[in-house]
């Protein structure tokens, strides 16, 4: 990830600030930066969302396609993730630089989102064992300014909320040949229930304390971070430790607790915002990428 050169003195300054619950930009340890979300920004997708968290810019598009269900779970659809680390986001992604990160990100996202606790995968089933909806979630990093996971997870939740899957009917003739029929009304579509879709909260251990939504400088001061995916009920669905440093169990527990608290607090305003945006309907003036 983008490296920021931080001098020892700066590090001490940041760490001391964190210790006193006061960060460089004036936030507390459990505060997020200013966040902007807009959905339905890409018309070619079935659902999309763009988020800016500080200077981190992420665009998520969801495309629904008909595929074959996996043999183990014939009555479920599934999600596929692809993270494109654009070289626009940071110079490090130039060439094949972003590839490794992209794979790591998409694997993590797959673990967090592609399970029936998070998304109602059964609703994606069209015909058990034959057809199901596959949601291709494409994540495009536009700009990197730390805390990619959190930003991406929120954007995914918003994009899934925005996703409209065309309704299909299975018609079967007397010989058992099934055919998929598409409704001719473009408004006749299926929505996903995103209530249980978790958000990722990344906590960075800085000194003896931890912060959420770390900037690049703060990140440089941290040796280890803990990635926790939390649902709106505060349930932790996934925990992952990142970075080379070590964490003692005590602080892991503390960080998990903090993550739960922060995550739970994150869902409610997010959903409220998404619903509010939708209620504006078609008349909403789109901001898009120029806003």
């Amino acid at each position: 990830m983008a490296a920021v050169q931080v001098s020892e003195a700066e590090k001490v300054y940041i760490m001391h600030g964190v210790r006193d619950d006061l960060r460089l930009d004036g936030r507390g340890c459990e505060d997020y930066r200013h966040m902007e979300i807009e959905t339905d920004v890409v018309s070619n997708t079935d659902g999309s969302a763009k988020i800016s968290l500080g200077h981190t810019d992420v665009l998520v598009g969801v495309k629904a396609e008909i595929g074959k269900p996996k043999a183990m779970v014939p009555d479920e659809g599934y999600l596929e993730f692809f993270v494109d680390c654009s070289a626009n986001a940071t110079p490090e992604f130039e060439g094949r630089g972003g590839e490794e990160l992209g794979v790591e990100l998409s694997n993590t996202l797959y673990k967090v989102f592609n399970n029936r606790q998070s998304v109602d995968l059964r609703s994606l089933c069209i015909c058990p064992g034959e057809n199901c909806w596959v949601l291709y979630v494409d994540v495009l990093l536009l700009q990197c300014d730390g805390n990619l996971f959190d930003a991406i997870s929120i954007a995914i939740k918003a994009a899934l909320f925005n996703t409209r899957i065309p309704k299909v009917h299975i018609s079967e003739d007397e010989e058992g040949v099934k055919e998929i029929e598409l409704s001719d009304d473009p408004y006749d579509c299926m929505r996903l229930n995103v209530e249980n879709v978790p958000c990722i909260v990344t906590l960075c251990k800085i000194g003896h304390r931890h912060v959420v939504d770390a900037t690049l400088q703060e990140k440089a001061c941290s040796v280890a971070s803990l990635l926790i995916s939390v649902t709106h009920r505060g349930t932790v669905t996934c925990v992952r430790k990142m970075g080379g440093g070590s964490l003692d169990p005590e602080s892991i527990f503390e960080m998990t607790e903090a993550g739960k608290r922060v995550g739970k607090a994150l869902h409610a305003p997010l959903m409220e915002l998404l619903q509010k945006e939708e209620s504006l309907g078609k008349k909403r003036q789109k901001v898009g990428f120029l806003g």
């Binding site: 018309s43 070619n44 396609e65 008909i66 010989e175």
Partner: protein, 832 residues
Amino acid sequence: MLKSKTFVKKTRAGGVLKIVREHYLRDDICCGSEVCKERKDEAPVLQEDACIESNLCSYPHYLIPDTNVVLHQIDILEDPLIRNVIILQTVLQEVRHRSAPAYKRIKDAIHEKEKHFYTFTNEHHRETFIEREPGESANDRNDRAIRVAAKWYADHLAKKTNGGSLKVVLLTDDRANKEKAEQYGLIVYRCEEYIKSLIGNPELVDRLALQPDDQNEITDSKLLFPEHLPLSRIQSGIKNGVLLQGTFHANRDNYLEGTVFINREGEDINEVLLQGLQNLNRAVHQDVVAVELFPKERWVAPSSVVLQDDSPNDEDAEEDETENKLCSCRTHYSNNVLYPTGRVVGIIKRNWRPYCGMLSQSMIKEVTGFNYKVNKVFFLHKKQTNIYIHVKKLRHPIKFHGVLYQDFNAYNLLLIFSQRIDMVPELLSSNLCSLRSNVERLAFSCIWEMNHNAEIIKTHFTKSVINSKASLTYAEAQMRIDDTTMNDDITKSLRGLNRLAKILKGRRTEKGALTLSSPEVRFHMDSETHDPIDLQTKELKETNSMVEEFMLLANISVAQKIYDEFSECALLRKHPSPPPSNYDILIKAAKSRLDSAKALADSLNNATVENFPYFNTLLRILATRCMMQAVYFCSGMDSDFHHYGLASPIYTHFTSPIRRYADIIVHRLLAVAINADSTYPELMDKHKQSSLCNNLNYRHKMAQYAQRASVAFHTQLFFKNKGIINEEGFILFVRKNAIIILIPKFGMEGAVFFDNKDKPSPRLIFDSEGPTLKVEQHTFRMFDKVKVTISLDASNIQHQRIRMALIEPVIPGVSVPVPESEPEAKKPKLDC
């Protein structure tokens, strides 16, 4: 201004694609009217004084038709009187989508300057473009777009004329749309309403297309036939063996039955029986169809019910009834005679050909009864009366291979009831190729040297010039033979020939040649009107037999010669032995056992019953029915040459080249064989020869059908003039619901039905082993003598037919009283 249009589409691979199109809206689209002074880059199309005399719209106005009006009333819109019409883009697109011909016509109308039709691209106009709303169907959206555009026009024109009188009138036949448009403040009329208001031009009303009223729309959407499967499904079905492919053959006696011959090799089922209109599913004779087999429980024997396409007084009831009949006959057949049954699920290749027919009141019924083939050209094969004494000397074949014959490439003399259409020009057929007395004629002769026992010592074929001493008719020749006072050379040679012929015939009969019988009918025609006056069965004289005998001998000799010379490509004629099962009915009738033609011939000869002289003839008629069809074939393609009926190991047709194409081929072969002519490639190609044979056989069969139809037709004409006739007859067959009766006097057959639609059927007990049919108390057996009344039923003009009703034996409720034979008398209601 940019908008995007989004829609989802199914891809060919089965996926679902979301498609987003850019859609530009403009505000510089011209309204096309003369009153609007803005932007004159194009000449305005719509006139300012758009007046038409109407008692609904007394003001000048432009018309805006909706999609259905354009689709259905295009005749009106095309009329030169209708001018100043605004065709909206929405309407145009919908029309294009739904009907290409209508689209083309409206486009033509738009291009015509005189019509003043203007296309308004409302979909790209900023003020008239609308987006589809949730819950709105595509049609509703388009209707709304039309209303919005009409409203825009109304407002626009009002503004441009400063509240002037120019208006727009929306034409729609959709009631809901009309109501909404009225609420929206538009002037709106139904098309009919508007056109009728054009008092100055009442002729337009005639061009109105009839609109089904909303209330009494045709709700009778009963599915008449199961839908045919798409071709892809048929192909996959055939590949995996679910469906079978074959050629459909309609049953000639029963329009509800047909057979599909499966022409795939390695198939254990090669014949599938189809019963009922639903299962026939619109297949027409000789279509290549895909059939689905029914499970074994539903396999049946072909029904012995005689079905006639009766006048359709009550379609459904009749349908049910016939279906019931079909069902009921399943039960009493033992399992070993079951045929596989199935239904047509699709038609792979239609056997298109010209049909002729009549439209009856109920179209549908007529179409379903359409199973019989109708052929345009028939060949008829009839004995001519003039006869040549010099049997051995045959006529010279007219020698041109080229164009003329290729045109025939088939068969030949067309003779339908005393009107003959010759195969070759008349000069050839009735003059140059006829051996006339004392005139030299070219001929192709087959000369035998025979001893007194009619044994052939030497056979010689040659081209010859013949000066015939006398040309006699059969009757004349017979008279000479019989007249002992005549002893001239000709008569003597006739007697000699007759003696030899008798020996030949005797020998042939010895070998087992059959003398079968089919009642041949001849009509006496009124020379003026060509109506048949009387009809009689043909009577055969000894001379007929004499001529026939030598003809047969010539044919056999020629067959042997050409086969010896061209073992691969000789055109021969064979008559296969009938399979034993064909005799079933005969055995049942005669209770005798038959295994060879000889046995059959012997037993036929012996089968006489005292006081019943006609019994033998009846048996022979039945035996004829058991026979297989004699066919032409190419010697290189077959190994069985036997002619069953003539008991000859080899046979061909040689003696009548002026009326049979096969004989011409044989003549050519023989000419080559005796070095009198050169050959040509087609003659030596056994595949070409074989396909020619098939065509000959086919044409021959058709000719026979035509002949039968012709006889049946004239029989009808005959009975039409005769009124009601009471006649004796014999039961030829006993069926489940009817008896088939042969009237020897007229040589005609007819059925007496016992089940009846109008009144309850009498108690019928059918025993297929007898076969006997017990009607109430009376049991009918084959060959029973009955008395019937014959009349022509002309109640259905398309289906005039001879009706027979039983007079004797008298069965109460079944037989009819003896009607008076008054031609004018109103026919009693007969059983049918």
